[in-house]
């Protein structure tokens, strides 16, 4: 059996997980920041901070999942084009 080598593609996959985390956290941060600024400078109630924080969390998860779906689509497209180049002999697409 041939052993699979650890190549640059695996780094790309690690980056994908890392990027997902960053997207979620940055959205939560921006949501919280908008809420904080509204509370501080627009003299609104603290409920707005909570609301925008929640909005940030939802937005983070939404954007993160959208990013993952996009990456999955790209991965499948690459696999398909790899299949065509190898004359359909590559079985990596089935996984």
């Amino acid at each position: 059996m041939k052993e699979k080598k650890f190549g640059f593609k695996q780094f790309g996959m690690l980056n994908m997980v890392f990027q997902f985390g960053i997207v979620v956290i940055s959205n939560v941060f921006v949501g919280g920041l908008i809420g904080y600024l509204l509370v501080k400078y627009a003299n609104l109630g603290k409920i707005w901070l909570v609301l925008f924080f929640m909005l940030g969390i939802f937005s983070g998860l939404y954007q993160g999942i959208r990013y993952l779906l996009k990456e999955a689509e790209k991965y499948e497209r690459n696999n398909k084009s790899g299949d065509k180049r190898n004359g359909g002999s590559d079985d990596s697409c089935s996984s």
């Binding site: 959205n27 949501g31 909005l55 983070g60």
Partner: protein
């Protein structure tokens, strides 16, 4: 496995070993005490301008000097390649190899032909600047350290000051990419379609789409800043722990050259991806 060393290898290793022996002997004979870790680690030289309001009138002069120095260096390098030939020289090969890769990435990510060239120009400029900035954070040079209400300049004690370890530089680039991407989007799709894009897949998602767009420059800039600034601090702290014996060279190489070049590429790829995703 048998290690084969040439004569020059042996001489090189011999000099390093002799250096270590000399340092050990010096420490033991003189009873040398290492100074405590400086409290100014991670502190920056901040200059307060005589005008403006407090948070906005503070500048880090080293960021300004080094940014200009890097820009002048890049322009000098570019102008030194006067004629591009069919059989390339060393400099031309280096530039062609780097920029060709970025051009391929841009062609893959940007769906509309007319935006490939402008996006490539922005991405390549960003890449070259950030790449050089990060690489010099792996080379010993001049640093400005605030001490006793003043500032002192150290030479070869630490690496060159790198502008990308200042969040202001990275945030500027990230905000610039965000603005450029939306200007391109308005040009490509028209104003109406661009506004409509914020209400997709349905109008309820509008606030989330806005927060998602605003979060892009945050993650974009903080990632580069964290890697470069964190790398610099780690090098100082670990070097202090091992008393500057072996680690700085390895750590400078790792954080400055390896992580630095990867982060420059990542920043560029993300810039291209952000522009490409808004245009399509």
């Amino acid at each position: 496995m048998k290690i084969q060393l040439t004569k020059s290898d042996k001489v090189f290793l011999g000099i390093i070993v002799a250096g270590y022996i000399a340092i050990f002997t010096y420490i033991i004979v003189t009873g040398y005490q290492f100074p405590k870790l400086d409290e100014s680690v991670g502190q920056r030289w901040i200059y307060q301008l005589p005008f403006g309001t407090p948070p906005l009138n503070r500048v880090n002069p080293m960021t300004v000097f080094m940014s200009w120095a890097i820009m002048v260096g890049l322009i000098a390098f570019a102008s030194s390649i006067k004629v591009f030939t069919i059989i390339p020289g060393k400099k031309q090969s280096l530039i062609e190899m780097l920029l060709d890769y970025i051009l391929d990435l841009t062609k893959d990510a940007v769906p509309k032909e007319e935006f490939v060239r402008p996006t490539f120009n922005i991405a390549a400029t960003l890449f070259l600047f950030i790449f050089v900035s990060n690489i010099i954070s792996g080379i010993p040079g001049i640093q400005a350290v605030p001490r006793n209400n003043g500032v002192i300049f150290t030479i070869f004690e630490d690496t060159w000051y790198t502008p990308t370890s200042d969040l202001n530089t990275n945030a500027t680039f990230a905000v610039m990419v965000l603005i450029i991407s939306h200007v391109f989007a308005i040009k490509a799709k028209g104003f109406g379609q661009w506004v409509k894009g914020f209400f997709e897949p349905n109008p309820i998602m509008f606030p989330m789409n806005v927060i998602g767009e605003l979060a892009k420059p945050v993650s974009h800039s903080l990632r580069l800043f964290g890697n470069i600034m964190g790398g610099g601090l780690l090098v100082l702290i670990i070097s202090y722990l091992v008393k500057y014996f072996l680690m700085p060279t390895f750590l400078w190489g790792f954080f400055g050259i390896f992580v630095g070049s990867i982060q420059a590429l990542v920043f560029t790829i993300l810039a291209i991806a952000y522009i490409g995703s808004v245009i399509e």
